[in-house]
């Protein structure tokens, strides 16, 4: 019964989305307030209907209703309750429903929170959001319905893939999808701006917080996924340039470019067309990602569905939404009024350069992901594009992009003083060079990457701090006044500083980890030991035990070395429901570095049983995950800035901020 309710609610949401489009389009054509209200009401109702459908799916999972095919394929009565719930979005169909939930949720947000938007723009944006809902809810309801029953219900389900039974994985998709779909809001606003033929500061003020929110959520989602891969898959890495990872990276890069260009459009009215283009591109990248992951053109460990018909349908959706939007852009963008002028050396100029590099980086990831598919389709020759390619192309582009980051905020709008900005950065430059050389000398295998990474990371961190110091005018006006100035800085400024520091933390961590990683693997019998970095690990014994839905071998490993002795207990789990083995990595944290132990299979040689033990020393690995979290936190702090919540049209009687934001 509950599954039928869900299916009904889903079709209802589809109908409500159609109503949302119809009413909003008519409202725009006739300038009719009642119709506009009806369109907005339909947007809210559509969200509620998808919410009911989603609740129905979760209920079917919690009650282990195996007559529902999706539940039978992805759940099991032995699964802990938490993983029964998260199993609801562990499959293709369920995750599409989560996508719809986020999409209609953002649609409702525009409808309810956009009171300050010009009515015409708002009606078009609500209609566009409804159109996207129509496409995706339609796809879910008619091609990927999670509520389908099976005639003969099995007694037991096939269980959720064991590697997905993990707390970090469980919360990774909701963040990721909110991020992906969050860009639909700026997409709809951009379509609205093109239809209305008007891009102004008020529009950019709307785009900024929404792109910031979507980008921050996407940052958290990607970081959680990367952290999950790091400790759950037990391969000691965290990013593999897998096409599915690239699929999430493209909208992230496009979103990062959008964040920066939207500032220029808001503050200076310039780059309006480019900001609109990026607003469309960010969500098109999200949809491209959804297509790549779900269509089966890539077969990946992440890809749930290998189904050509669904792939074609998703490609059609991508074609309609993306093609329509870019077509509209090509037609209407030339009509947008050109904005403020600026000299090449200015904050606008720095942000244009930033956008140039970020756009080229997005294109690089796109080329690396799509080129093999295109070349195979055209010539039949198969090639592979992996990490080494991205290291040679994406790498240098990013280094160049990161080098200019600290200078941007120190340049004035319109016409900046490059020499002045560099003079203010000389302390940061000296610190960065010193740190880079120190890292090059200190880390055991002398590698340029470690030195470069630490130098670049320090440059970003010290540069961001320099900017804050310059703003406080510490040197000119003394400590107390400087503190008062700092307290008066808008949150947007603090958010930017924190995000740039987070970027530096990430760069340093990623480079040191990949350059200084030490690895050792050996088959050990109890009592034997191996050495890695400064540690000696001795296998004490291996015992077996039973978990809720798995059996496991657990090794006790005695570690000697800095900060020890201590015991570590890596596990190897076997899930009978799926007949799959997974490893439960044991990690000992040393500051930002990790000692990482994986228990492998047992081997019997000449009568003695030995277990393969793989041990990694991952220096600074935690910074890789801390950095992006700081970036997302910076985004959240910026979002809490009052000025972003006040529409430009309504100026407050007393301006709250004492300092300009950027």
């Amino acid at each position: 019964m509950i599954a039928e309710l869900g299916a009904f609610a889903l079709v209802l949401a589809f109908a409500l989305s159609a109503l949302q489009v119809g009413c909003s389009v008519l409202a725009r054509l006739r300038h009719d307030a009642a119709l506009r209200g009806a369109g907005e009401g339909a947007a809210a109702a559509s969200f509620m209907a998808v919410g009911i459908a989603f609740a129905a799916l979760v209920t079917a999972f919690v009650t282990s209703d195996f007559s529902v095919s999706n539940v039978a394929a992805n759940s099991h009565t032995d699964q802990p309750l938490f993983y029964k719930v998260t199993g609801a979005w562990g499959s293709h169909e369920g995750s599409m429903l989560l996508w719809d939930l986020a999409l209609t949720g953002f649609g409702m947000a525009i409808a309810l929170m956009g009171r300050n938007l010009p009515t015409g723009l708002k009606a078009v944006a609500v209609a566009t959001q409804g159109g996207l809902g129509l496409l995706f809810i339609g796809y879910t309801a008619f091609a990927s319905n999670p509520f389908l029953r099976i005639a003969a219900a099995p007694i037991e389900g096939r269980s959720l893939n064991p590697v997905l039974q993990d707390p970090f994985f469980a919360i990774h998709p909701p963040f990721l999808y909110s991020g992906y779909v969050g860009f639909s809001v700026v997409f709809s606003l951009a379509v609205g701006a093109l239809v209305e033929g008007r891009v102004d500061a008020a529009w950019a003020r709307w785009v900024r917080p929404w792109s910031l929110a979507a980008w921050s959520l996407l940052t958290v989602g990607i970081t959680l996924g990367s952290f999950w891969a790091y400790y759950e898959l037990g391969w000691g890495g965290w990013w593999a340039w897998d096409p599915v990872e690239n699929a999430s990276f493209m909208p992230w890069l496009a979103g990062a470019a959008l964040l920066h260009s939207a500032i220029v459009t808001e503050k200076r009215g310039a780059l309006a067309g480019w900001t609109v283009f990026l607003s469309l591109a960010a969500f098109v990248c999200s949809m491209l990602g959804a297509f790549l992951v779900r269509s089966g053109v890539l077969t990946s460990v992440h890809a749930f569905a290998v189904d050509p018909t669904r792939g074609v349908l998703l490609l059609i959706i991508l074609g309609i939404a993306g093609g329509g939007a870019f077509g509209l852009f090509a037609w209407r963008a030339p009509k947008l009024a050109p904005g403020g002028l600026f000299a090449p050396v200015s904050r606008e100029g720095a942000l244009v350069l930033n956008n140039l590099f970020l756009a080229a980086a997005t294109l690089t990831v796109m080329l690396g992901t799509l080129y093999p598919l295109i070349r195979q389709a055209l010539t039949g020759e198969a090639i592979s594009v992996g990490g080494p390619y991205f290291g040679l192309t994406f790498g240098p582009l990013m280094v160049a992009c990161l080098l200019i980051v600290p200078a941007g905020p120190l340049l004035a709008w319109k016409r900046g003083d490059l020499l002045g900005a560099l003079q203010r950065l000389w302390v940061a430059a000296v610190i960065a060079l010193a740190a880079g050389f120190a890292a090059w000398f200190v880390f055991a295998p002398k590698t340029a990457i470690a030195g470069l990474g630490v130098g670049l990371g320090t440059w970003l961190i010290a540069g961001a701090i320099s900017e804050i110091v310059v703003r406080s005018r510490l040197t000119a006006s003394g400590g107390r006044q400087a503190l008062r100035r700092l307290a008066g800085l808008p949150r947007g400024a603090w958010g930017m500083t924190l995000a740039h520091i987070g970027l530096g933390v990430f760069v340093a961590g990623a480079c040191v980890e990949s350059a200084g990683k030490a690895e050792m693997a050996q088959a050990l019998s109890p009592g034997q030991s191996l050495k890695v970095a400064a540690f000696t690990l001795t296998l004490k014994d291996v015992g077996s035990f039973e978990g809720p839905n798995y059996t496991a071998e657990r090794a006790t490993v005695l570690v000697k070395g800095p900060g020890n002795p201590a015991e570590m207990t890596p596990e190897r789990r076997f899930y009978p429901a799926t007949r799959q083995a997974t490893s439960q990595v044991a990690i000992q944290r040393h500051g930002a570095s990790d000692l990482y132990v994986v228990l492998g299979e047992s081997r019997t040689a000449s009568g003695a049983t030995a277990w393969l033990l793989r041990v990694y020393w991952n220096p600074w690995a935690r910074l890789i995950f801390l950095g992006p979290l700081l970036m997302a936190l910076g985004g959240a702090i910026s979002l809490s800035d009052r000025r972003l919540r006040i529409a430009a049209a309504k100026r407050p009687a007393r301006a709250p901020a004492l300092e300009p934001a950027e």
């Binding site: 037990g234 096409p243 016409r415 492998g600 793989r614």
Partner: protein, 171 residues
């Protein structure tokens, strides 16, 4: 049919996932220098049955075979280039994670840098069309400086005017 293909994918995923396989002591070469060379080569070679995974990471049986081939060749004294050629002759360019720099891959390799050049040129041309910025004359500069100084002397309690002043200066 669909089920079968799905199963194949799931199976491939299971086979490929897991701890980095190449460090298995049973496979290692006795000469540490050769082993280091083999490991760095592994990272450039794709496990053919996995999704974009190098044979350094893959636990699939095929990856183990490829690792054995590479190690054997290195032990036999072949250079890295010779090993790569040997593998591409057998399995095609598909086996390399770093595609060759060839006419067919020109777009792939040059695209990112062409994008920077073309994008930069487009930005400059579009800016020209806007007319560019004429710098202020010395008199205008001094007038601006005088105005800014005047604004700085406004008493601090007058928050609104002060903010306006700052914004004027900032923009």
């Amino acid at each position: 049919m669909r089920g079968l293909k799905g199963l194949a994918v799931a199976l491939a995923a299971v086979l490929c996932l897991g701890a980095a396989a190449a460090s298995d002591p049973a496979e290692r070469l006795p000469d540490p220098a050769q082993e280091v060379r083999a490991r760095s080569l592994f990272r450039d070679i794709r496990c053919l049955v996995c999704q974009n995974e190098s044979i350094d990471d893959s636990e699939a049986e095929l990856a183990a075979d490829l690792r054995r081939i590479v190690r054997d060749q290195i032990a036999a004294g072949r250079s890295d280039a010779q090993v790569r050629t040997f593998l591409t002759d057998r399995y095609g360019e598909f086996v390399l994670l770093k595609p060759k720099f060839s006419p067919g891959n020109a777009v792939l390799w040059l695209g990112p840098f062409a994008a920077i050049l073309l994008g930069g040129a487009a930005a400059l041309i579009l800016r020209r069309k806007d007319g560019g910025v004429t710098p202020l004359s010395p008199e205008e500069e001094s007038r601006l400086a005088a105005l800014a100084e005047e604004l700085d002397t406004i008493p601090p309690h007058d928050g609104h005017i002060k903010t306006l002043a700052r914004e004027t200066k900032g923009s």
